[in-house]
Point group: C2
Chain length 271, copies 2
């Protein structure tokens, strides 16, 4: 896996070109949005109150391609929160990524995505899932998407950045194969790097745990820089949480990450 | 892995004896409860309304050791639901298992377990987690348990029954090692069979997807019988969902599963 990114010519292709390879409409839309808005920044709004999620979305909105949510940590979430996020997504031109990491059998996942108190399928553009349970998890989410006005696809967790995680080379390959077999609904990956090696790679790679400097937190999360994620490892989107939402000036921090991520992308396609 | 169960002498030990090997108090309590109440049946209350969860809990309560919930599929869940379940658990002598399958980094998992709309740590006795993200997920839940009045431990997903799942032998071994390194909080596994081979095995094995006959559902779930799970494979708890909650007479069905599961256990310890 280590060398995939540098071996593949697809890292030199623009987001616009990659958009034409995407088999899922939302994946194509995200590539186009990134190119148009000149941002590969996704902000993780990991906060526990609705007012904070909304405030973050409205503040960083102009600088991001996606807003990543964990609705299930928000104590006062309600249907209005989803509607407000959708209005802000329209206002600032970003899409909404609920990082639920679905990891159950298909039958349960349909209910978790469409029902319950959060009704994720009612407001999220896409969600994340672990490939661990097998293709049933994808088929469950596809069912949820079919009945939803907004939900347009999903990304699979192909790698994790947490210390001691159990993902090995074979797991990555199996995940990639599972995505390729479901390209109509799986449009990308949460990963540390680009994974597919074919020249016409239409998958989007999103890398979490990005900060301006490298390091580790108290619970095993390991950080990457925008340059290593986008430049060296061929990923497409940097996901930034604490580096932005804990910043004194959130908008300035988002602007800075946007610039660093975009410069890394431009240097990569020029190389 | 296939032969572990039959190779190990611990399958002949009673739940009471195994209880003395448990390093976690809730694990010991569950073993004792099973022996006292003569049941190794866990019912999965996979329904989408609060009134149905409560009705199932009250109806099957007399026959079960655990009630397994998916609170996040319940559309009208509130703090009262958790309190009612706790009252029923006290009334019927069972413990509450929220099968959340936590699968994120530690920092996020703490919030998902303790906060959000479901506040799982406020009412569940134990939860499930995937070992996939590494030990951070366990340490996160340990933090949630420390601040909780009820949450006393967790079980790790060591195997899955869904078709095409990505768990291989190495994953199982890594999960087992992770549990052994955190025996104070991890007291068992969701698995298809008994896994640890040491004679003094204090872990509890819980097997989902159990029905009176074998088969598969439309979204890839594969079923086991009580005799294969408890008898042949050395598991300790059978988890039954649709076989009971979709039955015309839920109490009768629960009673039947309880009898089948308990007979399989008695035959095993006699063998």
């Amino acid at each position: 896996v280590e060398e995939t990114a540098t071996n593949s010519k697809a890292t030199h292709l623009t987001y616009s070109t990659r958009s034409t390879f995407a088999a899922n409409a939302l994946g194509a839309k995200l590539f186009d949005l990134m190119q148009r808005k000149k941002t590969n920044l996704c902000v993780a709004a990991d906060v526990t109150s609705k007012v904070d999620v909304i405030r973050i979305a409205d503040t960083v909105g102009p600088f991001i391609c996606c807003l990543k949510t964990h609705c299930d940590i928000v104590a006062d979430w309600d249907a209005g929160a989803g509607q407000e996020l959708r209005a802000l997504a329209a206002k600032h031109d970003f899409i909404i990524f609920e990082d639920r990491k679905f990891a159950d059998i298909g039958n349960t996942v349909v209910n978790q995505c469409s029902h319950g108190l959060y009704k994720i399928a009612d407001w999220a553009d896409f969600v994340s899932a672990h490939s661990l349970p097998g293709p049933g998890v994808i088929e469950g989410l596809q069912k949820s998407a079919k009945d939803s006005q907004h939900l347009g696809g999903l990304v699979l967790l192909a790698q994790m950045s947490s210390k001691g995680n159990l993902i090995d080379q074979k797991y990555v390959e199996n995940t990639l194969a599972m995505a390729q077999a479901h390209r109509d609904v799986v449009f990308g990956f949460i990963s540390q790097q680009k994974l597919a090696s074919e020249p016409q790679d239409g998958f989007i790679y999103m890398t979490p745990g990005v900060k301006l400097e490298q390091g580790t937190d108290a619970l095993g999360q390991q950080y990457n820089t925008p340059e290593s994620a986008i430049g060296k490892k061929g990923s497409d989107v940097i996901i930034v949480g604490r580096g932005i939402i804990k910043a004194k000036n959130m908008a300035e921090a988002a602007k800075q990450y946007q610039a660093r991520g975009w410069a890394a992308y431009e240097a990569r396609v020029r190389a």
